[in-house]
């Protein structure tokens, strides 16, 4: 993971590098973060942070990540890729209720009274959850007083511009440039 901090306040840059490193390594998405870039200019004042991820999971249909098997009790879902297990279980709970969805084994879920047809077209959106985690992480890193914020979101990257004053056009351009630069890489 590469963290780059720029800005005129050298000691501030070093501290924010440490803060970002610690918070990212403690987060549950640390392995998915590829690069973090910070531009801190407290004199202006603005703070831009851009986090790029790698290996973002795209939207998946349940039938793509599991084997569905009709049984007397209901539909048996055998998970092929364990990384999706928690998301899938949450999705099934959300759709059919906790009482009808039973995780009998680590990779086996039985949906009582539910046919496989109802399940196969369900979609998981891990991207959304991931984006939420990144935004939470960014909120923890940026200085608390900078409450006027604008974010730029694309598939594998979230950039946020924050200040305590009204956002100036030139800052927005800078944030946008950082966002697009990172995207090219």
């Amino acid at each position: 993971m590469n963290i780059e901090v720029r800005g005129q306040d050298k000691s501030g840059n070093e501290s924010y590098k440490e803060i970002a490193e610690n918070l990212i390594s403690e987060s549950n998405i640390s392995t998915l973060i590829n690069k973090a870039e910070i531009l801190a200019e407290p004199q202006e004042p603005f703070f831009i942070i851009s986090i790029a991820t790698e290996g973002v999971r795209s939207t998946k249909k349940v039938e793509d990540i599991s084997i569905l098997d009709e049984s007397d009790e209901g539909c048996q879902v055998i998970i092929k890729d364990e990384r999706y297990a928690t998301d899938l279980l949450s999705k099934l709970w959300e759709e059919f209720g906790k009482s009808d969805v039973e995780q009998s084994e680590r990779l086996k879920i039985i949906c009582h009274g539910v046919s496989c047809e109802e399940i196969e077209d369900l979609e998981l959106e891990p991207e959304e959850e991931m984006r939420e985690s990144i935004i939470n992480l960014i909120w923890q890193i940026i200085p608390e007083g900078f409450r006027v914020r604008k974010s730029f979101v694309s598939n594998d990257k979230v950039t946020m511009l924050a200040s305590e004053d009204r956002l100036k056009e030139k800052w927005i351009k800078k944030a946008n440039n950082i966002h697009e630069d990172n995207m090219d890489e």
């Binding site: 306040d9 501290s15 440490e18 200085p143 608390e144 007083g145 305590e164």
Partner: protein
Amino acid sequence: MYRFYNYEGGIYKSNVIEEKIEDLGGYILRKEKHSRELNLLFAVPEEDIDVIKEISDEIKGEIKKRDLIGTEIAVVSPSISRHHLPHPVCDIAERLRREGASTSIISTARGVGRRISQITREEKIMIEEYDAGVFIFGEFEDCILDYKKDILKEIKVPKIVVGGPQIKNLESADTYIGDVGRKTKRMRKTREQRKLDEITNALSECISKKREEIREDPLSVSPIEVKRIVEESGIHEKSDSHSPILLHLDGLRIKLPYDEYKQEVSEIDVYGKKLGEIAELRKSQRETDDIVVKIHTESYLEQVKETKLKVS
């Protein structure tokens, strides 16, 4: 004048020390036994400590002077969010407690940011109830030098400020200590532990100076004696707190609601005078509405006496 000390040593024959402290007119403020080890926080008149040290040497104990015993310190953070809590606020408060101080953590409502950072009048008054304040600032030099220092301007108690950048002299602060800004982890590293020591030493120095000032213009009665008298009255038993009376440099905090107990407390007899006559009783800004007792100096009481004589 009373000075505060800490005895660490074995339990064997420690009762000799305890008896001696009492014989010398001293006070045992806290006594903690851990297996065969004893930790004693006590106060004795400064000139008598050598007698205690002699006994301590005989029983292979150790006596250290602790300036922070008998003080209540405010550790002030800019907010209660995860950006500033629990670290480094709790690490600093914990270290000060180990040195014998009572600490409270105060988070200002609008202390974050630079231009927008501010402190309310109530918050200032609340901080001034304490003997000193340790203020935690952020990481950017520009913010601290141009904006945050204004928060400190009107606060009259000694102020130790900690923050990220290295600043030689921060206007309005008694001492500034760098490299302690936002922390995301506990301050466990040797470098960080040294910083905590630095904070404690700076604060002890401020407190010593304050004690010297009090010594030059002495209080009419020592707070520790007032504490004993209030405890003898039994009023503190009505408080739910495990430490109902806290010592300050120039008074006490009695953890009883001001409106309900003000009269009763001010009537307590202190060497022939009412407590209300030799001290000012204030209502704390804290939600608990504690009674803050500020003992008048001898010179002030003399002045009041003279004025009364002239009028009559």
